[in-house]
Structure formats: C-alpha cells, structure tokens
C-alpha cells in the first residue's frame, strides 16, 4: 500500500514555510502522544517531554492564580528558539504545536504571530 500525505501531514508541512521554522510537531498536551511531525522533529522536542513541561508550567501558573489554559511557551537558547503553542479546538483534550526555530533566521515576534495564526488552521 503506497504512503500518501494525510491532511494533518500536509498542515504540518506548510508550517515549515514560516521563516526560521526548522521542525514542528503536533502533540497531545495530556498524553504526550505525537500525532505528526514535519522537518527536523528533534528540534520540536519529544512529545512526552513537551507535554510534561507544559503541564508543569500550567500547574504552577494555576497555583499562582492564573486562570484558563496555557496559551504559549517560548524558550530561547543561544542558537534556537523552541515555541509551544496551544492549538484551539472546540472539543477534546488540548493539543500543543511545538516548533523549533533557528535564531539566525527567525524574527521571534513575527514567527510567533505567524505560528499562532497557522496553529488555528492545523486541524482544519
């Protein structure tokens, strides 16, 4: 049976068009299951680590009095940005879009806006 590109894979592949984005993954924020990846998946992070990190941050924010679900996390190292974005959905457990960005090629503000807009379209 030949492999064909699924709708989800197609959505993730399109995210690589954003300047500086080198890898993306769609991850279940509760179970850590990775539903799909595109580009250099290692730069997006593993599903379980990403979901654990998001859960930890969300819990600490809740303890500090924040209300609602976590929307995004940005981590910056010398050469990379790693971005976690909540993917909106009308029902079901939350999903995270994890993206690795090359700092030399990514304008962080523009990349966040672009990824945020496209995260809404990932499940279309």
């Amino acid at each position: 049976m030949g492999e064909r590109v699924t709708a989800l894979q197609d959505s993730l592949d399109r995210l690589l068009d954003s300047p500086g984005v080198i890898g993306v993954a769609l991850i279940d924020a509760v179970t850590g299951l990775t539903y799909g990846t595109a580009g250099d998946a290692a730069q997006a992070g593993t599903g379980t680590e990403v979901s654990d990190l998001a859960a930890l941050i969300s819990e600490r924010l809740g303890e500090a009095g924040a209300v609602g679900e976590l929307e995004s996390v940005v981590m910056t190292s010398r050469r990379r940005h790693q971005v976690l974005l909540s993917v909106p959905r009308s029902a079901g457990d939350p999903l995270l879009l994890a993206a690795g960005l090359d700092r030399d090629r990514a304008n962080m503000a523009l990349a966040l806006r672009s990824l945020g807009d496209r995260a809404r379209e990932v499940l279309a």
């Binding site: 179970t31 539903y35 009095g65």
Partner: protein, 280 residues
Amino acid sequence: MRTPSARNVPALLQALHEEGFTGTVRVSGAPGGTIHLRGGRVGAIETPGAPTATSTLLASGRIDDDAWLAACAAEPDADRLGHRLEATGLIGAAELEVVCTAAVYDGAFAMALRPPGDWELTDREPTLLARPGVEPRPLAEETSRRIALLARLRGPAVELARGRPAPVADRAHPASGSGLTPRHRELVDSANGRRTPRDIAFARGRGLYAVMLDLIRLEALGAVRWETTTVPEGRPSTAPRVPPRTVTSADEPSPRAGPLPRRRPGGGFPTGDFGARDGE
C-alpha cells in the same frame, strides 16, 4: 477461519502488518475488544474498556447526534464515514485523524490492562477508521510506555483503573477548586466516588489514559482522593515477541499456521497469549 498462533496480540498484529492484512481480530477476555486492520495497519479498536472515536466525538459534543445519524444514513459503509463527515463540514480531516488515532492508542492501552483470552480473525467489519492507521510496533511501544509511566507515578495501572476517585471536600485547600484548569475542574466534578476512570472517560468523551493521568495530577494537587485496592494480578507484557527476521526454513510454521489457543475448563487463559503470565 484462520488460526494464528502468534505468542501474543502485539506479535500477531506485527505478523498481520507484514502481510498487509485487512480484516478484524476479535480478542476475548475482560475487557477484550475488536481490532480493525486495513492494509496491515490498525485503523480502529473497539473495546468496552475505552471510548471509541465515535464515542469521543459524540460524548464530547464535537458532533451532535442528529448530524451524526444523518451522516451515517448517507454513507452506509462506515469505513468511508470519515470522508462523509469531512465533506459535510462536520469535522476537518486533520482533526478527525487526531481523534481516531488517539482512540486507537487508548483502546490498545485499555485492552492491555488485563491479559486477553483467545483471538480469532474475521473479515473486514466497517467502522470509523484512523487513516492511514497505526503500525503495530509503535502502538505496542506506546502502550508499554503508558503502563510503565502509570506504575512509576502512582502504581499498577490495573489497580488504578479499578479505583473510584472522589473530590476532596476541603474547599479551603487552595487546589480543591481555584487554580485548576477548566479541564481539571470538569474532571473533579465527574469524580463522584462512584465512577471508575473508565466511567469518567465515557461520560466526558475523553481517553481512558488521559483521564487517569489527569486524576493522578489532581490527586497530587489535593483535589481528588483516589484509593485503590491491591489485587494480585500479573500485568501482561505488551512487547512484540517476534524473533528478528532471518532466513527461515520452509518447514518452520508461520505465526498464523498453528492451532487456535483454547481455554481449558478451569485452566484460565491459554499460555502464550498477550504476554507471559506470572513471569512465565
């Protein structure tokens, strides 16, 4: 009826994957279940232990009952129901892929909580499918990871599944109400001391494993009380026990060539099923 003799269900699925099998594997036991394969990939798992993709979509309210029934009436072959749901705009193809894939992993997790009984292969039975489906090896690996993680976090998964979590009455506790996400608050509301995690999963249209993970987090936050009882029971291995592919003798029986494992009166599960029992 074909009579596979693979040592356990993951090994059977792996052998069927290599054949590109399309059809159904019926596994008896508690909870047991039905595994739907298309071209050797697992497209759906139906088990009383966890919600299917259909249950998830309806119980969560993602698709309302009337629209669902209309789609089913318009597309009698459930294998093609996904296309119908997408074409009518009820759900996007990518989201449906996520929902159906999550349900496959959750069904495998629920079935692995207890040792299975016999299995048999039957023809294709139409059902709502994950496309392109999940390969058996990553499915078995993820199932093992989930059971191991629960054991590390809280204890044997099978005991957790039997527990009936209840909300902590102490409203003065900072974590008992405020500070929780809406998802966690809904779960606290559902945990009434009578429902098991499975009951909550079906009621909320969520995965069993996701509910169990959230309950562990809520217990750590002091928002729920989740007492479990220890009942000696071996956890079945979920690791595929297929030997590495080497040159095989023509006389060597294929994984599907042997007799169907049969129960003996009073003998419990046949050996060589879904993992060794009690260290065998």
